[in-house]
Symmetry: C2
């Protein structure tokens, strides 16, 4: 009775990838929820929507360009890019006040950033998401991501390519047409920087890859395993922040998308379909999330040892299709906090069918 139990007792877990802690309060899932409810998109959508600026043959936001009659994926320049290919070089201004000039140069540090932003439609079908796409239809998405990674990565002013998807209105996505984004830039952003640091430190200590070692532990333990195939596994990481967060890991060390062979690419399509399908089945809703691919920077250095391809899924829903987890107050000022254990989340996801709930009920 007096044994410490992860499903009963409060604990912190260490995230060795970002070197941060998460507070886990498993008993807290029992509290009633009186707060905000999200809207649930229930409306059935057609395959083509005439005023969708991402559907084939339609006019894009801005009113000037017409989309081609694309059949698989379609990539175009973001009409409102966060980073731009060219701009003046940044030179720090010297503070007017000699007394605070030295302090200002240390405390008000900035850098200029260049880059390019792309939008990528996953399929011409407006009413599909990865959860409802066939593995065969997801494969071209992975091929296109690989091409974009290489093409953008080859640009003189690009040292890092971030592929991601915001899915669902609650994740700031303004159009349900299945699409993701690719932001590429001259600097390596903060999150991959932290991960590279952790992987580098781990290799210095063990001469092995942190994420490959972690995959080994999870394949042995199996309590956090959601799904696996010949090349990949998906787990709710031990240190998950979001309630149903998952991490897709490769079983063989690969630094970035171009290092995948044909079989691995198919297996990645397979595991992405199965994970997103389980997500939709969890609350029988189109499950919102942000997904991102982390791989090696494209800065021309050898990152074979300090980078290991992986995908993060950060979904906000906690209790139902309309109740999400708020990472606010304590989480912003103190540290991340979660209300169920990773093992509980993994068990629930594992138990779900891999056939989409909409197909079943037809």
């Amino acid at each position: 009775a007096d044994e410490f139990d992860f499903t009963e007792h409060v604990h912190r877990r260490w995230n060795p990838l970002t070197e941060s802690w998460v507070l886990c309060s498993p008993h807290r899932a029992k509290r009633p929820w009186l707060g905000q409810q999200e809207n649930q998109a229930t409306e059935e959508m057609p395959e083509h929507v005439s005023d969708c600026y991402l559907c084939p043959r339609n006019v894009r936001a801005g009113g000037k360009i017409v989309n081609p009659d694309y059949k698989t994926t379609f990539v175009f320049d973001n009409d409102f890019p966060a980073v731009l290919p060219s701009q003046p070089t940044y030179k720090p201004a010297v503070s007017a006040d000699p007394e605070t000039a030295a302090l200002a140069s240390e405390l008000l540090q900035a850098r200029g950033v260049r880059g390019a932003c792309k939008v990528m439609c996953f399929t011409p079908q407006h009413n599909r998401t990865m959860a409802e796409m066939d593995t065969d239809a997801i494969l071209p998405v992975i091929e296109e991501w690989t091409r974009q990674y290489l093409e953008l990565g080859a640009l003189e002013y690009v040292n890092y390519v971030q592929i991601f998807e915001n899915k669902g209105a609650v994740m700031g996505c303004s159009n349900p047409h299945p699409h993701g984004q690719i932001w590429s830039m001259s600097d390596i952003p903060d999150e991959p920087t932290k991960e590279i640091r952790a992987l580098t430190n781990h290799r210095a200590k063990h001469n092995t890859c942190l994420l490959c070692d972690y995959a080994k532990v999870e394949l042995t333990d199996r309590t956090r395993l959601v799904v696996e195939n010949a090349s990949f596994l998906a787990v709710v990481p031990f240190w998950a922040t979001w309630p149903f967060e998952t991490l897709i890991l490769s079983k063989r060390h690969v630094a970035a998308l171009p290092d995948l062979d044909a079989a691995q690419k198919s297996d990645l399509a397979d595991i992405m379909r199965r994970v997103t399908c389980k997500y939709d089945n969890l609350f029988e809703t189109s499950f919102p999330y942000s997904m991102g691919i982390h791989g090696a920077p494209t800065d021309g250095k050898d990152h074979g040892g300090d980078c290991c391809l992986h995908l993060h899924f950060y979904p906000p829903l906690l209790r139902s299709a309309t109740v999400k987890k708020f990472l606010v107050g304590f989480e912003m000022m103190g540290e991340s906090q979660r209300d169920l254990t990773s093992e509980q989340a993994a068990a629930r996801l594992r138990a779900l069918p891999e056939v989409h709930y909409k197909t079943k009920t037809q």
Copy 2:
């Protein structure tokens, strides 16, 4: 024409407090918004609401306890605490598999955590917020925070006290009755840990306080200053993540709330009223935010040099009462990103009146 301009060109800014970067894309504020709109609470509320579990004399959530007829502040134990005063001691389980046991003990690290969670009503009046309270009514809130910090901090199992407020449904707050929370725990959470590290490093280098130095720079530069009085200043920090984020700094070095004298406490009440009132006036709405107070841990060590009392306000709204900034996809996978400069945000807040818009129109 070819000069680098913070209001035109993309740059990253360094946050010396958390040692992280934020990407600033000032031109991006021009893009149209087609995404999710938040609900705006416009309903006029009475001073006392019979089914509010925080109003005086009412029955609390759970149905057993009746609130006293309190006149200023009122503190009680959180009915659904994230941390608890007692539980078994955590002992790491030894992995069953000898091959992965060593890796597992390194990659699956956890710690037990104890603590206590309190809820604090700021005033009996259901329809007030700090923005509409008199400075005289905010003072008892600051006195009570100070008492709680001392009382909780004195507990054997508490080494850190985090005071915070989640305001507004969009920040996960389930009851508009003005209230905040206090979570105290045996470990120092991640965010203050990072700050203490940065302040310690700065002192090692300069023998001065990072935040006091920063306050000096901002009082000289003045472009990010929102408001000041004899004891405090509020700025949109150079490295702000949230669109209208502010940081309240003390003009004299103080480690924690109990170090404030009577005049400083009044001045803190004054600046909190003025900042929150400007916030409400920005979009003529009850402005949502998470607010938190960072000060010294209560672990019995001398933190006079490595801690400096300050308050963070993290408000999500970007364009209007119903359009917030989504920190999703790129922000989660890459790094924080903002769409207007800190100087632009500060200028807008500075220009706003310090009389609440609801009073003006009466």
